[in-house]
Structure formats: structure tokens, C-alpha cells
């Protein structure tokens, strides 16, 4: 195709051939296939087919653009006539119209790269105003009766949160305040719903959005939203994006949860804990009541004792008991003395017995008495023919002395 036109037979191309040639040229240039273009939106047209047609222009030039309908839902901003945007796409040719144009797949507001700078500026400003002060943080209710939720009514985040409530704490009532959570109207909608919930009977507000790019979460960095959160007289829990995402709303919230699910968990207690707590309360009630009865019973017993002590019957009883004790003591001491006497007496008898003449007689000795009854201890006290009495252990003998010999063998004859 690069041949020079001949002198006599200049080479001729059809329009289609030329157009295809140009198309191929443009599409083979890498710079043109991945390019950012900055310009002002004009001739913006949302076609019924779903495609969007527009031109980007500056002071001196115009560029035709098209956004295929598959890319339209992904746009993060709502374009308007005259808006300065940066568009990304590739350059190609619309052969039928003979136009080269930009096939756009992404649009940002101009200076979106400066978003982070704006984020820091606003953060510093609101921080200086005291919107993020820790002493502004409100306590969350332990058992909320009603929870207000600001989120998209179609998002997965809402279903995740409702599931958590069903599992953990189905006692709660949810008041959903639907709001767009991305796109141009999102900040105003979110702020309005936070304020609207402040007019309702809710115990806590959850501000939530599922994960997305940092641009998707940008509404939560909007000053209107941050101020609405900060000014809420009802405690606000944020659960925005993922764990790593921090928005200014998170800083202004009373509690920041890393995700919508975590926000829901933070907002309500677990029903298992609630049941355990209720068990404890019921037990405490029983204990407190029975303790009360016991205490009263003990008091009553004490009173009855006191009363009994003071009764006249008791006095009499006491006297009687005293007397009984005296008698008891007296009789027991008397008994003791008798016994002592008895044993002493027995001792004496024993002794007496050992010295009794009877004992001597039992061993075979005899006692001799004269007629006048006096004991004959010497042979000289008797003479022949003198009557005597001989006393043996089992009886006595009347006898007459036959002969007397002194000093040796005093012979005693006995008869009868």
C-alpha cells in the first residue's frame, strides 16, 4: 500500500480501503489505544440503545466520543454538559461516518487525582473543628430496641446486616433509610437520611456500604455526610467498605466497624448472652426472695425466743429447775457420804473380825472360864474339884478340875 502513485496509472483506493488503512494505522499506535483525554463535555446524549454519545472539546478542538452501554453502569460520575472530565479509552474510526473517535471506558471528574489532597484538607479542617474529638463519642445502647440503617436498599450489605440481626438479636426492629451509596446524589441522600433518622425513635444508626474502590466509597468522605454523622444525637456506627478503608465518616462516627457485618454485630448483643443473662436474673430473683423470707424467719425466731424468755411461766419454770438442781445436788452428795460410811464400816468389821477370840477358837483353841465367868489364864487360878466352863468354837463344856500342876502339863479333865 505504500507504493508511490504511478505517472500514468495513479493507484486508486476505494473509500472503504482508505478508511480501513487509516483505522489500521491508528489502532497500531499503542499510545492511542490507552489514553487519557481531558476536555469539556458537550453534545451529551444518552441514546435509547443504552450507548452514550458525546464530544470532548477545548477552546480549539473537538473529539467525538462514544461510551458503549456495557461501560455506562461503571461510570462513577454523572456527566453533565460543560463538565470538565478526564476520559480514558482508545482511538479508532467509525468507518460509516468517517470519523475517528474516542471509545471511552472510564470517566473521572477533572482533578480526581487530587481527591486524596482534598481528603486530607477536609480531614484537617473537620478535625480542627473538633468533629472527631473522642469526647464527642456517644455510648452505644447495650440492647437497642430499634436500629436505623442508612444504606442501599438493594446492596448485599443490607442483607448481610439483616442476617446478623436475625441470628444474634431478632428482638430488634430495623428502620431502613434507603440511600444511594455511590454516585453524585449519594452524599446528599446519605446526609438527609441520617438527619431523617434523628427524627425517628431509633436507639442507634448504622451507616453502611459494601466494599468497593476508594472512589466508590467517596460519598462517605463528603463534608455533608461527615457533618450529618457528627451532628447526629443518636449514636452512629459506620461499616463502610473493607477493613482497610477509612473514610471521614468513620472518624466522625461514634464507633467505626470494619465492615457492614461487623457493624451489625457491634450494634446488637448475642441472644445466647441475653438468654444467659435472663437465666441469671431469674435465679437472682428466686434467691433474693427466698433470702428475704429466710431473713424474716430468722428475725421471727429471735423475737419468739425473746418473748419466751420474758414470760412468767418461764420464770416459774426457771425456779423449778433451780430447785430440781439443788435437790439433785443434795441427794447425790448424800448418797456419796453413805457409800463412804458403808465402805469404812466394812473395813472396821474386817479388822474387828481379825482380832475376835472366835477366830482363835476356830483354829482349835479353847477358853476356860471360872464359875464366876472370869477367864482362866493361869493354872494358879484353879484348884482340884473346882467347876469350870470350857468354851470351844461351836459350844461349851461344864467340867470339874481333877488335878492342878503348874508350869508344865496342867491337866484339865472335862466331862459332859
Amino acid at each position: 500500500m505504500n507504493q508511490q502513485p504511478g505517472l500514468f496509472n495513479p493507484s486508486t483506493l476505494t473509500v472503504s480501503e482508505l478508511t480501513r488503512f487509516i483505522t489500521a494505522l491508528l489502532e497500531s499506535e499503542p499510545v492511542l489505544q490507552d489514553i487519557w483525554v481531558e476536555g469539556e463535555v458537550s453534545n451529551l446524549k444518552y441514546h435509547t440503545s443504552g450507548h452514550v454519545y458525546l464530544s470532548l472539546k477545548d477552546e480549539t478542538a473537538t473529539l467525538r466520543c462514544i461510551i458503549w452501554k456495557t461501560y455506562v453502569p461503571r461510570l462513577r460520575i454523572r456527566m453533565q454538559e460543560g463538565m470538565a472530565v478526564t476520559a480514558h479509552g482508545r482511538i479508532s474510526v467509525y468507518e460509516r461516518g468517517g470519523d475517528y473517535q474516542l471509545y471511552i471506558d472510564n470517566v473521572q471528574a477533572v482533578g480526581e487525582g487530587a481527591l486524596f489532597q482534598e481528603f486530607l484538607r477536609l480531614k484537617a479542617q473537620l478535625e480542627a473543628e473538633g468533629l472527631f474529638d473522642p469526647e464527642r463519642k456517644k455510648e452505644l445502647p447495650a440492647k437497642p430496641g430499634r436500629i436505623g440503617i442508612v444504606t442501599s436498599s438493594t446492596g448485599a450489605a443490607l442483607q448481610d446486616m439483616l442476617n446478623i440481626f436475625r441470628q444474634r438479636y431478632p428482638l430488634v426492629e430495623v428502620l431502613l433509610a434507603p440511600a444511594a451509596v455511590q454516585g453524585v446524589s449519594a452524599p446528599a441522600e446519605i446526609a438527609a437520611q441520617v438527619k431523617a433518622l434523628n427524627q425517628e425513635q431509633v436507639d442507634v444508626i448504622i451507616l453502611a456500604r459494601g466494599g468497593g474502590s476508594i472512589e466508590d466509597l467517596w460519598a462517605f468522605n463528603d463534608e455533608r455526610v461527615v457533618r450529618a454523622v457528627s451532628e447526629s444525637s443518636i449514636p452512629v456506627i459506620t461499616g463502610i467498605g473493607h477493613e482497610t478503608d477509612f473514610t471521614l465518616s468513620d472518624f466522625a462516627a461514634d464507633v467505626r466497624a470494619p465492615t457492614p457485618t461487623a457493624a451489625a454485630v457491634t450494634a446488637v448483643p448475642d441472644i445466647l448472652e441475653i438468654r444467659a443473662e435472663l437465666d441469671t436474673l431469674q435465679t437472682s430473683l428466686q434467691i433474693a426472695a427466698s433470702q428475704g423470707i429466710q431473713d424474716r424467719r430468722a428475725d421471727l425466731r429471735e423475737d419468739l425466743h425473746a418473748l419466751a424468755r420474758l414470760s412468767p411461766m418461764n420464770q416459774i419454770q426457771n425456779e423449778r429447775q433451780h430447785i430440781d438442781m439443788l435437790i439433785e445436788r443434795a441427794s447425790s452428795s448424800a448418797g456419796y457420804s453413805l457409800q463412804l460410811l458403808r465402805s469404812r464400816m466394812e473395813g472396821s468389821l474386817l479388822h474387828l473380825r481379825s482380832v475376835s477370840p472366835q477366830a482363835v477358837l476356830e483354829r482349835g483353841f479353847a477358853l476356860v472360864f471360872s464359875q464366876d465367868g472370869s477367864l482362866v489364864k493361869s493354872a494358879r487360878q484353879v484348884h482340884a474339884e473346882m467347876p469350870i466352863h470350857v468354851k470351844l468354837q461351836d459350844g461349851s463344856i461344864a467340867a470339874r478340875v481333877k488335878d492342878v500342876q503348874t508350869n508344865r502339863d496342867p491337866a484339865v479333865s472335862g466331862e459332859g
Binding site: V72, L75, R78, K143, G145, S153, L162, F165, R166, Y169, P170, L171, V172, E173, V174, L175, L176, A177, P178, A179, A180, G183, V184, S185, A188, E189, A192, Q193, A196, L197, E200, I271, I274, R275, E277, L278, L281, Q282, S284, L285, A288, A289, Q291, G292, D295, R296
Partner: protein, 74 residues
């Protein structure tokens, strides 16, 4: 103490009252009759709470959409 019928109390209200009753029972002051009445109400409150827990089903209401700009969003 003005007493609402127990069935009309929310879980939170019922638990709060139950806690109060236990406290005054533990304080152990007042007439025996009052004590018994408190205990009986405490029992009813406890049953009511259990009942609420058993029957609880998440209720969801929706606020109107805010008409922020009066225009549709892309």
C-alpha cells in the same frame, strides 16, 4: 411505681424492671406483702422476657427515599 401490664413491655423495659425488683428484694426492706408482690411480678416479667426471646422475629420498616435533587440518578 406505676405498673404497665407486663405483656405491653418491650424486652428492654421488662429486663430493666426485673433488675430493679431484684435490687429492692436484695435491699430486703418493706412489707412482706410487698415483697411477695414484687417477687410474683418478677416471675411474670421473666416469663414474658423468655417468651419474647422465643417468639422474636426481625421486623423491618422502611423510610421514604429522600428526594434530594428532584431528579433521577444515572
Amino acid at each position: 411505681m406505676t405498673e404497665k401490664p407486663v405483656e405491653e413491655l418491650t424486652y428492654e423495659e421488662a429486663v430493666k424492671e426485673l433488675e430493679g425488683i431484684i435490687q429492692s428484694l436484695e435491699g430486703n426492706s418493706g412489707a412482706l406483702e410487698d415483697m411477695i408482690r414484687l417477687f410474683e411480678r418478677g416471675q411474670v416479667l421473666g416469663k414474658h422476657c423468655l417468651n419474647l426471646l422465643d417468639k422474636a422475629e426481625l421486623r423491618i420498616q422502611t423510610l421514604a427515599n429522600p428526594d434530594v435533587y428532584g431528579e433521577t440518578v444515572l
